[in-house]
């Protein structure tokens, strides 16, 4: 939360950007079943001057499971969306980005990835495409369920992967003030 506050606190000129639209996708590629879901309820802020950021996803926003029952299980048993309504990643950018200079930036962000109420420190690679009007971003990383204390019952071992591939992409818009 600290970084989130920081991010809101220091909006300086055109350095503060907000996620305009984004989607988060997760893929569980288990031996017996591939589960894929998308979420458009992604919000976040990046302050390129302070190099701080926060991104969060509404857990209930995931759509596109193989069945409505599966979605229900996902919300209730694994993500426990009623207890932990949001997943987030917040921290600092390791590498600098100048939003006034168009181009492609490959940067790394170090922060706390909070899923299922368990925070893990992570370094995640992000690709930024800076255009004149807006900034496109995309990122892909792997989440180990064990790291976030999401345990899989044995009976569904073959259906849910231990490593979940997550990708997030979208666009950022400068926040005018």
């Amino acid at each position: 939360m600290f970084w989130a506050v920081l991010a809101f606190k220091a909006p300086s000129g055109k350095e503060l950007y907000e996620i305009q639209s984004a989607k988060a996708i997760f893929v569980s590629d288990a031996p017996l079943e591939i589960i894929k879901a998308e979420n458009a309820e992604v919000s976040g802020l990046i302050d390129f001057k302070e190099k701080t950021f926060v991104v969060q996803v509404k857990n209930k926003g995931f759509q596109g499971f193989n069945s409505p029952l599966q979605q229900e299980h996902f919300f209730e048993n694994y993500l426990e969306a009623h207890r932990f309504p949001k997943s987030s990643f917040k921290g600092k950018l390791i590498d600098p980005v100048d939003p006034s200079v168009p181009g492609t930036y490959e940067i790394r962000a170090k922060g706390w990835l909070d899923i299922h109420g368990v925070s893990q420190e992570r370094i995640i690679k992000i690709t930024l495409q800076v255009n004149k009007q807006q900034i496109q971003f995309k990122s892909a990383f792997v989440v180990l369920l064990a790291d976030h204390q999401i345990s899989i019952p044995r009976i569904v071992y073959q259906k849910i992967a231990e490593e979940i591939k997550v990708s997030v992409s979208g666009s950022l818009q400068a926040r005018s003030r």
Binding site: I94, D95, K110, R122, I123
Partner: protein
């Protein structure tokens, strides 16, 4: 009680003298240049891994050295500027100025990148601690990587600065030197990071631990010591940043950015340059590494240097023979030579001759007080030496004593001194202000025999080495002689040394090394080319044996003796019997013009190296595991091994034996073994390394492997072959049988074909006659013609019926014959007589269809049948044959005949039944007999 206390007090004092401090001056450590033929690139980063292999990395090459062989790794095509080198999880890892990390794989160094990416800033240091690879960067903090997780320590974690220039592992964890202070880093079992600021001394460029203290190299030049939370800085005239730092026992060595090498003495806190050269040229240090063996490797622009900080040389101003050495309580070092006595003061670096001593031939020395020393001479008596005074001869008093004083040892309670002379044992005491020297002659003592050396053991007993009487011990007021050896009495003992295990070691010029243990004396067999001049016990296992021209490091448990001068490439000359002295760190050895100091801790590291046997190579496979199996024709093997040993490799004896093939050991100086054309079998390769050509003590390594039998002698192949042969034989037999059956079938077919043909042949000929007869009968006798047609029909029906039969019953054939005869009788009327004389048994047997009919037809065809000469045909049986016989009355002009009929019939019987038909012609008769077949074909 008082006595015991006295001994303890005496022990305390004597140990104080024995543990006198070594002089603080800084003589040059011994070092040598390594000009190695296999070394391609000279300057580079140095690292030694857990196997002791030394790695040298620069922008062109990664090389590995085991003391004998260089191995070169492949580098990627891109050029990297390497900044750090370490080994982690059995591989070599290198960091670059642009943030890449490279990892060794096989014979190559390849870039490695985790999913999270690597820094964009220069990697400044690499270290391994608790399974994590730690990486310091110039601008991003410190990364820790364990193969799964990558953590970054940065400002948020409490790191004072992102520019981190050094890492160090001490017993408490990992330390990082940043531009704004020194921190201790940790990751706990729950993957939680912690950073603790130890010191905020800025701009640290190097950190090295020293027990509980830390030495810090500063970017502004010079060192600082961090101890008990306190930091002390030591200003250095050289303000260049400290680059590489090594902490040795008494000194700290460091290089600066310009490559100059410096040392700092921990006690005197003084800096001085280390004037190492390479081929006479001043060196520029690239990197330094301190090995577990106590060696220091220095990579320079000209090549590698090997320094031995445990060995230092102190040069005297004159090349006199040093024959006695003493360290005085005030840390002064005293060296007695054949031409005077030299003193090296605690604060000075120069040796000074004690005034007016150059006439003295000093053999022994002792400290009487802080500024008064005793010198025993060769033929000149005993002298008292004092700084600033003329040497003072002690005695002779009323007891004239022998002026050749080889040894001086203190008496208990500071009462006085024992003097070992060429006239026996004396004691010197000060009695009411006067110096008194008296003989110490007692019963059972050495009497007036020469005493070459006196020494004390750990219990305070005095031992004497005599010329002619062996060894004496003086304990509790009693002398005891030790000279009983299994080989005869010990005569001359020249040197003695007691060890910590209550053993007394000694040397005899004639009989070599001996030991007194549990009151027993025995010789220690050692094959030496020259007599031992002194023996000195270093520790429980090691003895130093002084020879005239060398030093042996003798290991009493392994019974190996290593020549130190070769081991360390030391120039040794003229070592005198008394010219050695132990201090708390090691041993001083005097020789011509100089003194050598050997660190005994350091000498303990010299042990037999391990053999590292890597892969076994054949043409088709590389195998690192024991019990590898090689194919029968892949039987040319190469085994590579390595013996990390960085002293003189000529001291190592290496041999190998292939158990299962070799009868004897094969000696080798190579580091590979070629085994060619091995036969099938199980083998075990054993390699041994020893300091001793007889291999009494050795390190060995074994590797078993197997060469498979060729496929043709494998059990499965033999079995398979047997099965195949059996199958093959069965197949041959079967196919021959089959062929025979087929041939028979074919023959039968052809016969049947011939038979068919024959049957077809019969029909037209017969028909012609039959129709002629019929046409005649129609006119003559219509009733008969009707019967004729009827019989003709019977005949043809039968022929048609039997056409497809191979055999028919004789009865059936006879019906056919009767029909035929009836037809012919219509033509020939009573001129043709056929009598059929067959019984029922014969009629039930089998014949070829139309065979008898053919014979009857032949008879009709070839004989005259006239009113006058009617033809009589008889059909009867004889011996299982049916015989058709007719009166022989051949036609004058025989009817044209194919001649086919009879011979065809004959061959048919031959082929179908293997039986002959009988043809017999007499003047009167023509007879054909057909065998009767009992069963149907």
């Amino acid at each position: 009680m008082k006595k015991v206390l006295g001994v303890i007090v005496w022990l305390f004092f004597s140990s104080l003298t024995a543990l006198a401090q070594s002089p603080p001056d800084t003589p040059l450590p011994h070092y040598r240049e390594l000009n190695l033929p296999g070394m391609r690139e000279k300057a580079g980063l140095l690292h030694q891994d857990a196997s002791s292999w030394l790695y040298l990395l620069n922008n062109k090459q990664l090389q590995r050295f085991d003391g004998a062989v260089w191995k070169t790794y492949q580098l990627p095509a891109d050029t990297f500027e390497f900044t750090a080198l370490t080994s982690y999880q059995g591989q070599v890892w290198a960091g670059t100025k642009t943030g890449q990390l490279l990892q060794s794989k096989g014979d190559s160094l390849l870039p490695f990148e985790p999913e999270e990416g690597w820094p964009r800033k220069s990697i400044t240091a690499l270290a391994v601690y608790r399974g994590w690879l730690w990486m310091a960067t110039a601008g991003e903090g410190v990364y820790a990587f364990n193969g799964k997780r990558l953590f970054l320590f940065d400002l948020e974690d409490g790191l004072p600065d992102l520019v981190v220039s050094s890492l160090e592992v001490d017993k408490n964890g990992i330390l990082a030197g940043t531009d704004l202070g020194l921190v201790r880093l940790a990751i706990n079992a729950k993957n939680q990071k912690s950073v603790r600021l130890l010191s905020n001394e800025p701009l640290l460029s190097a950190v090295k631990s020293d027990g509980n203290a830390l030495w810090l190299g500063l970017q502004s030049g010079g060192l600082a010591l961090f101890q008990n939370g306190q930091l002390s800085r030591f200003a250095h005239a050289d303000e260049d940043a400290v680059m590489r730092l090594l902490v040795l026992e008494e000194e700290v060595w460091f290089s600066d950015r310009a490559g100059h090498l410096w040392r700092f003495h921990k006690k005197t806190k003084q800096y001085s340059a280390l004037p190492f050269t390479h081929n006479g040229k001043a060196i520029r240090v690239y990197d330094m590494w301190q090995s577990r063996e106590g060696l220091v490797w220095i990579s320079t622009q000209h090549g590698l240097l090997q320094a031995f900080p445990g060995v230092s040389t102190h040069l005297l101003p004159h090349p006199h023979d040093v024959q006695a050495i003493r360290i005085l309580p005030n840390q002064q070092l005293l060296a007695g030579t054949n031409a005077g006595c030299y003193v090296k003061s605690a604060d000075g670096n120069n040796w000074q001759l004690l005034p007016q001593t150059q006439q003295l031939h000093v053999l022994s020395l002792a400290a009487e007080s802080d500024n008064s020393w005793l010198a025993g001479t060769f033929g000149q008596g005993l002298y008292r030496l004092q700084w600033g005074r003329v040497p003072q001869r002690i005695g002779p008093n009323e007891h004239r004593f022998n002026p050749n004083i080889f040894s001086i040892e203190p008496q208990p309670h500071g009462a006085g001194w024992y003097l070992g002379t060429l006239g026996g044992l004396y004691e010197y005491r000060r009695k009411s202000g006067a110096d008194v020297v008296e003989p110490f002659h007692q019963q059972h003592g050495p009497g007036q025999y020469y005493i070459f050396q006196l020494t004390h053991d750990r219990q305070g007993h005095l031992w004497m080495a005599t010329d002619g009487k062996g060894v004496f011990r003086f304990a509790d007021g009693q002398f005891r002689q030790f000279n009983q050896l299994a080989q005869g009495p010990l005569r001359v003992a020249s040197s003695l040394s007691a060890d910590s295990s209550n053993r007394l070691w000694g040397s005899s010029p004639e009989q070599g090394l001996f030991v007194v243990e549990n009151q027993q004396m025995r010789l220690v067999p050692l094959a030496l080319s020259e007599p031992i001049s002194f023996v000195h016990s270093l520790n429980r296992h090691q003895l130093l044996l002084g020879l005239q021209q060398g030093l042996l490091l003798y290991n009493s448990t392994q019974n190996t003796a290593l020549p130190l001068e070769r081991l360390l490439a030391l120039p040794l000359t003229q070592i005198s019997t008394n010219a050695y002295l132990a201090d708390e760190k090691g041993i001083w050895i005097g020789m011509r013009g100089r003194l050598l100091h050997l660190n005994s801790h350091w000498l303990q590291h010299i042990a037999l190296p391990r053999i590292l046997l890597s892969e076994a190579f054949s043409i088709k496979q590389n195998s690192e595991t024991p019990g590898a199996v090689f194919a029968a024709f892949d039987n040319n093997l190469r085994f590579d091994f390595s013996i990390p040993w960085f002293f003189d490799t000529d001291l190592l004896y290496v041999r190998y034996k292939l158990h299962g093939l070799h009868e004897r050991w094969v000696e080798t100086d190579k580091r590979e073994i070629m085994l060619q054309g091995l036969n099938a079998g199980t083998y075990e390769l054993e390699i041994q390394v020893s300091f001793d050509p007889a291999f009494k003590q050795y390190q060995s390594v074994k590797r078993s492997f197997r060469i498979q039998k060729p496929f043709y002698s494998q059990w499965w192949f033999v079995l398979l072959l047997a099965i195949l042969l059996l199958l093959g034989a069965a197949w041959v037999v079967q196919s021959r049988e089959e062929k025979r059956r087929l041939r028979q079938e074919a023959e039968k077919q052809s016969i049947l074909a011939q038979y068919e043909l024959l049957k077809n042949q019969i029909s037209p000929h017969f028909l012609f006659n039959a129709f002629n007869t019929l046409s005649a009968l129609i006119d003559l006798d219509t009733q008969k013609a009707g019967a004729y047609v009827e019989q003709l029909a019977v005949l043809f029906r039968k022929i048609l019926h039997y056409q497809n039969h191979d055999t028919i019953r004789l009865a059936e054939e006879m019906e056919l014959v009767r029909a035929y005869v009836f037809l012919q009788q219509q033509r020939f009327e009573n001129r043709l007589h056929v009598s059929i004389e067959l019984d029922d048994t014969a009629l039930q047997q089998w014949v070829i269809p139309m065979s008898i009919q053919l014979l009857v037809e032949n008879a009709v065809k070839h004989n005259v049948i006239s009113q006058t000469k009617p033809l009589y045909i008889r059909i009867y049986t004889v011996h299982q044959h049916v015989v058709v016989s007719n009166k022989l009355q051949p036609k004058a002009s025989p009817e044209p005949s194919s001649g086919f009929g009879l011979s065809s019939l004959s061959s048919r019987y031959q082929q179908l039944f293997g039986s002959q038909i009988g043809i017999e012609q007499t003047n009167e008769h023509f007879m054909v007999s057909l065998p009767l077949i009992e069963t149907r074909l």
